[in-house]
Symmetry: C2
């Protein structure tokens, strides 16, 4: 396969290159693209140094786009390749796929397949087996999103500002408040509805991936001082009644999801547990008795892996190797 | 007034002593109690050094208890004083008071008045004016709770572990996971319902303070790597319809609550903004169109001040100076 990674120096693109190597994707040739600032630099792949190039329209089998919406919008139409896009640019019009959930949607692509918003993916993997059984009616979700969602730059910002604070040094911040030991409502664009873009993405993408526009959703997205795994609390009202044990059993049988809890030790998933891991970790399943047919749970996933790069690579694996591919190699 | 502070070396007790001085509470004598480890040490109050004592049954006007539930349970019955208790020991049986909301309940005390759970207080101050107008039906809340809720020890743990991580040093942690750049579901005791003690407190205390057992609540409590202000996202279904502007106006008119938002700059309250401040800061009010009569908002408050010490001192102020006292001196 001839592969291109666009945005190869970014947090997501970097993980895509690593995953193509680690997961032994059948790469015959790899080209890596970044901004002109990266010209002259290289990226390591299978012990070779791949030179960074500035993007031009090219022909290849798969082009992974991980350079943000505006680059995707401009360049995907010019590519002679099946583009797998981690940005939100084509999520409304193209198939939007989590292979474990709606791989059937891949069949309808017209040159571009979108990979979902990271928080939507972390919500949907544990929710899907429950939705299939009990039909989700209304979802309330609050997120605890890591710095990595803002790219390498925000991760470094958090580390450096925190170090400066602890040493008592001045830190030239670009935010209107500290990020060290602080958190803030998500800064994606505020809609006139009062929701921010990230919250609307979770809502729209959930409906599209579950193929059910009747699902009602309200999300609150928050950036927390964590490096690279997102967490969320979810309160789900279903149409149908359920038993807690059966719901937990359904989640346990879902590929890509690990029930991670030890109730005797009051131990549930944390971002640390999920960092560098392929699965979504979930726990704290409990019946919310404040209304019928309602469940609360907690889910954590590596934002850069299943939340972004891994899902994109799994889409390519599914298209290349078929339905069982994505279940075979959770690391 | 003769005053005693029990647990004066702890995070909350320490703030109570500072607030008695700053707010010019009419203190004729102050006695400070701590464990025997603190014997020989002193606490500064109005430029004097108050020696720390080991608790014995004493007579005074107000005894502020801030040393945890077991100390309150053991010692409050032995005191000849009006005890204002920051622990959960008597919250079921004694008046449970946020003066801005239910000061009328103070009249019924029998020697002890409880100050509520910090997260409940941060939820209830902005919620109360809305409940009064539209009657809360169901509340879903997710918290983002700071280290200070676990005392000075946990604050130091977070700072020291974070410093060690950034320097690459080993840190001898007492937790089963890192706290530096990590978060975890609240570690209060796990009930067989699957909720932890902190979540059940929010539920029980909300019903008691709003004097409405019909309110349905489900909470998710999470400890985040923030030093001393708690945040929460709340999704509230009301019995009655409302207009967003009227709801926001009601919150703005509530004593002790500050609407803190600049929508043109996408700027909403963060723990940093609330640290050291008396008010609860709130924002991100928006209609949740996923069902009728439903509102989302965000609230942040200093856990040690209005979440604990300040509320306790305000109870004493109310009893001493009358109804307007607590509105006069937000710093």
């Amino acid at each position: 396969m001839q592969i291109a990674v666009i945005g190869a120096t970014g947090a997501v693109g970097n993980e895509i290159v690593k995953l193509l190597e680690e997961r032994e994707f059948p790469v015959a040739s790899l080209r890596c693209f970044a901004s002109s600032r990266s010209l002259g630099k290289t990226i390591s792949f299978r012990k070779k140094q791949i030179p960074l190039e500035v993007l031009t329209p090219i022909k290849c089998d798969f082009a992974f786009f991980a350079a943000g919406s505006s680059i995707s919008k401009e360049w995907i139409p010019k590519m002679d390749a099946l583009c797998i896009d981690s940005s939100s640019a084509f999520r409304q019009s193209a198939p939007l796929v989590i292979p474990e959930i709606n791989a059937h949607a891949l069949a309808h692509h017209r040159g571009v397949i979108s990979s979902p918003n990271c928080a939507a993916t972390i919500l949907l993997l544990p929710l899907f087996p429950l939705h299939r059984l009990y039909k989700a009616k209304r979802i309330i979700v609050s997120t605890y999103q890591a710095a990595s969602g803002g790219g390498f730059q925000l991760v470094r910002h958090l580390e450096e500002e925190t170090g400066a604070l602890l040493r008592g040094d001045h830190f030239p911040t670009t935010l209107p408040y500290p990020y060290a030991f602080n958190l803030f409502p998500h800064t994606s664009e505020l809609d006139e509805s009062g929701y921010v873009g990230e919250e609307l993405k979770i809502s729209q993408e959930t409906k599209k991936i579950l193929e059910d526009d009747s699902i009602a959703i309200s999300a609150t997205c928050v950036r927390v001082p964590v490096l690279r795994a997102h967490s969320l609390s979810a309160n789900i009202e279903f149409h149908h009644p359920f038993e807690l044990d059966a719901a937990i059993a359904a989640v346990k049988s879902m590929p890509g999801v690990t029930l991670f809890e030890d109730r005797s030790k009051n131990r549930f998933p944390t971002p640390f547990d999920a960092t560098g891991r392929s699965e979504i970790f979930t726990g704290r399943f409990r019946i919310d008795r404040s209304q019928p047919n309602t469940l609360e749970f907690w889910a954590v996933g590596d934002q850069l892996l299943k939340g972004a790069a891994l899902n994109a690579v799994q889409i390519a694996e599914y298209l290349t190797k078929g339905p069982q591919s994505f279940m075979s190699s959770y690391r």
